[in-house]
Symmetry: C2
Subunit: 253 residues, 2 copies
């Protein structure tokens, strides 16, 4: 069994604990959390430590904390020349203290505490400084997912920016859609199948082929009617910029 | 059997023909198309007419043509006081010529010719000028879908604007995500599960609850790193505006 220690108690840490718990090739050795109670429903109490001096070495140490804490946490680890990874999409591998062998274990997914996630389809983007460590990381990722990729720090940065567009910004467009519905006494539920279909299409169509709508059709009557309908300056502005961008894109292709 | 005539040969017309074909309570009486060959794979040749004078009356006449042609097509119909509807999300009911009884039969969905659609989950937004006509329209919609709504012209306008945000603009964000991946030698396939999960979440979570990411977290280090990474002015601009909008939204809640 590969022994893993997880440092952190947030969303990503908790999801990883659950996923490894169900895996048969990986064992959680310790979990570091300032607040032991926060994890007591997920991990045997005796495995939770809240002081760095209690941390023992394992085959792999996963730092799952917020981006700006990774560097400091990695310095606090009470051992050298062990294998330590972070789970961040934005941070390069070298934010980790170089006293240990470094790597990245980035699950490209959006984690809400209140929703369960099927780990087996989540892409894991891995990086390590040497082949032996990479192989270990690959085994660990494959124990919970079927989609495992070797992605270097520069590629990961691109991926994270792209993920912000397709996830965070997309969700914000859903939010705007919901606001427009509510302001006009229309049930937002009517839009759910469309949201689903828009995402499903991408499994079989290239986004360029899948593009429809007034911007794509250069239908200026509809575009102007929509802009007149939107009273909120912010929504108007977003409408204009995305319409323009779709039209510019059409000209590039 | 309710008898229906469809006027038009585009995406929506073709999808409706397929859906009604599979229904047991509705029969297609005639289809009007300038180009008979375009529909010969979907409809018996003798049902296709290409001259308005050949159109007979039916229980319901569905005009499925582009928005700016609805008005003229409705004037050309060679009968009066029949039930005529259009399928547009943007056009009000009164673009239809008032010589006939009017209504709207708007399937809120994105139709690509190259992808099959499960009609049973597509919301149909219906409007009619009197109760008897509305009931007929409701029967027709229920023969192919389980999601049927009474939506007036003002609500439909809101719905269509909201649909542009959650469908057309969302798809454009996928397109931007794909460009960022390709420019950095990252397979876009890595993002597909995230796109799927982002949409799936909306079935169980409110978009406000589902919002994650650097904008929501007010993580200005990551935001600045992303802006520095994005060289293209258009992408930078979209990133800034949507980030700002997420942050303003957080303050309103």
């Amino acid at each position: 069994m590969i022994q893993i220690t997880i440092i952190g108690s947030g969303n990503v840490a908790q999801h990883l604990i659950k996923a490894f718990d169900a895996s048969k090739t990986v064992e959680i050795k310790q979990v570091f959390s300032r607040n032991k109670e926060a994890l007591s429903h997920l991990v045997a109490y005796e495995k939770i430590v809240s002081d760095y001096s209690e941390l023992q070495t394992a085959d792999l140490h996963i730092i799952a904390v917020s981006d700006n804490a990774i560097s400091e946490v990695s310095e606090q680890l009470p051992f050298n020349n062990q294998f330590v990874v972070h789970t961040s999409g934005t941070s390069p591998i070298d934010v980790l203290d170089e006293k240990n062998r470094r790597g990245v274990f980035y699950p490209l997914q959006t984690f809400s505490k209140s929703k369960n996630v099927d780990y087996s389809v989540i892409p894991f983007c891995l990086e390590a400084e040497n082949t032996v460590d990479f192989k270990l990381l690959e085994s660990v990722a494959k124990s919970i997912s079927t989609a495992v990729y070797l992605i270097n720090s520069e590629q990961r940065k691109a991926l994270h920016v792209a993920a912000v567009f397709v996830n965070n910004f997309t969700n914000h467009l859903y939010q705007i859609g919901q606001e427009i519905c509510e302001e006009n006494q229309v049930p937002f539920a009517i839009l759910r199948p469309l949201i689903q279909e828009t995402a499903d299409k991408i499994n079989t169509l290239d986004p360029n082929e899948a593009q429809t709508g007034p911007a794509k059709r250069e239908d200026s009557n509809t575009i102007n009617a929509h802009l007149a309908f939107l009273e909120d300056e912010n929504k108007k502005n977003i409408y204009k910029i995305l319409t323009q961008s779709i039209q510019d894109n059409g000209k590039k292709l």
